[in-house]
Subunit: 281 residues, 2 copies
């Protein structure tokens, strides 16, 4: 899972995923390619400066890549955002966080897409896979029906939880919990007791992979590529909600951890690049 | 857990909980008494007709009690609603559902209170214990902070889940999932493998009891008895949300199951009494 590198090597690219196991890497490459290929007429080229495309701390024990494609003005895509960080831990292990998330703009109220792997052992990881809603589903039962009941998303969650290695995972942040859909897949996959890293590879390839690809398919077909007929007052509400979610996500997810892992200067650059793409500066 | 009864006995009262085990019964009596004693200046006497205070199906294999106290006009209490049903199952067992829930009115936006036991074996049960929010917490991070972070409610959830007999439980209804707070306790307690009914009694008495009483304390002190200064436009929003939640709760929770268990006529009477108290007729 670790890669050796010399100062002369060119820095890794986002899509290289140099620290992931084969199954997770293959899956992430598939998801990113499928997303970008399908949405390519709606995506602008990346305009990130090189120093945030790849970044590291002063001792190079923490490394990261950021990848952002904003949507064109006439599309429903706000931006596709991918990133990974790899941090060597004092105990000899490493922490790897790998994320692909896609935001839509206020031309539609359809859900976002999110997949995240959080891994600090070759034998176990945390997986978040969800279409986070962009409306209060309590006040909008039709929305719940359209995007979560009729899409049968809960069947995938249940199927994963049938595996003995998989348990529900509940995030420490109450705000991140609140952002999840009612069918969110939020699980730990722990093969420490049986099968180890090889079994984890198998679970990612044979179980997580098909489910993640199905969910992306639902998102591409029924969320991005469907007209929802959002009126002007709804657009204002959606924008308010999206901006607040982006601000809180940066605050909860990044502003608390990046400075610790990369130092304040590098963290500032990364957070600024994301905030700019999010249009929340 | 079962009680023998003859046709000459007076029908059981809500507070009798004649089919519950000692620990669960003691806890429910404590919670109901504490709630009604604390709120008594704000509660009107029950005005339910006798045929819904106690009801049964034609063969008396299903029995139920309903108990509703509405709040006075100048209070923040909308209504306190308790009910239990006891249904003999074809396999010889029984299903017991026992609920205490308290709704606030639009003078405050503070959360509701909810405890529910769903039990179909002496060795295991499902427990729901929550202060369900009355606002979209995604759009109201301050609300999340006040009622869920600063009250430390998540600590109780974590403490319960440390017991090996306790696992997260996820409701089959996506709408009921969406109604939960981010700190909702929604768990199965299963002592089938170790300790059986005696261990379940112990867990209810020593672990669930203190946590449920603490949560009720938080609700009574920080939700019912605190002024929140809700303005007129917020009141309109709260009323809209509360009415929708009540309608959906009746639809998801009662309208689908009561007719099957009690026949359509009895079910109609019970649903009508609840809808009247909910002011959603």
């Amino acid at each position: 899972i670790t890669s050796s590198s010399s100062p002369m090597d060119p820095p890794p690219k986002f899509i290289d995923f140099p620290h992931l196991s084969i199954s997770t890497k293959n899956l992430m490459v598939d998801l990113v390619s499928k997303t970008e290929n399908t949405l390519s007429p709606n995506l602008l080229p990346s305009s990130l400066p090189p120093e945030v495309q790849y970044f590291q701390n002063s001792s190079a024990t923490s490394q990261g890549c950021l990848h952002i494609r904003s949507g064109t003005n006439n599309s429903q895509v706000d931006c596709v955002l991918g990133n990974w960080i790899h941090c060597e831990l004092p105990n000899g292990g490493a922490l790897d966080i790998t994320t692909l998330t896609a935001y839509l703009n206020s031309n539609t109220d359809a859900p976002r897409f999110l997949i995240e792997f959080i891994q600090n052992s070759p034998k176990s990881l945390i997986l978040i896979l969800d279409l986070p809603p962009r409306k209060d589903v309590v006040m909008n039962p039709e929305y719940l029906k359209t995007f979560y009941e009729e899409t049968q998303l809960d069947e995938s969650r249940k199927k994963l939880l049938e595996l003995s290695e998989i348990r529900s995972y509940i995030s420490a942040s109450l705000y991140l919990r609140a952002l999840s859909s009612p069918t969110a897949i939020s699980v730990t996959i722990d093969c420490g007791e049986s099968g180890g890293a090889a079994r984890l590879e198998e679970i990612i390839r044979d179980h997580v992979g098909p489910i993640a690809k199905d969910m992306l398919e639902v998102w591409l077909n029924q969320c991005v590529c469907t007209e929802r007929g959002v009126d002007e007052s709804e657009k204002v509400e959606l924008m308010k909600r999206d901006v607040l979610i982006k601000k809180k996500t940066v605050e909860v997810d990044l502003a608390s951890s990046l400075p610790r892992l990369f130092g304040q200067d590098v963290a500032n650059l990364v957070i600024e690049a994301i905030s700019k793409a999010f249009d929340i500066l």
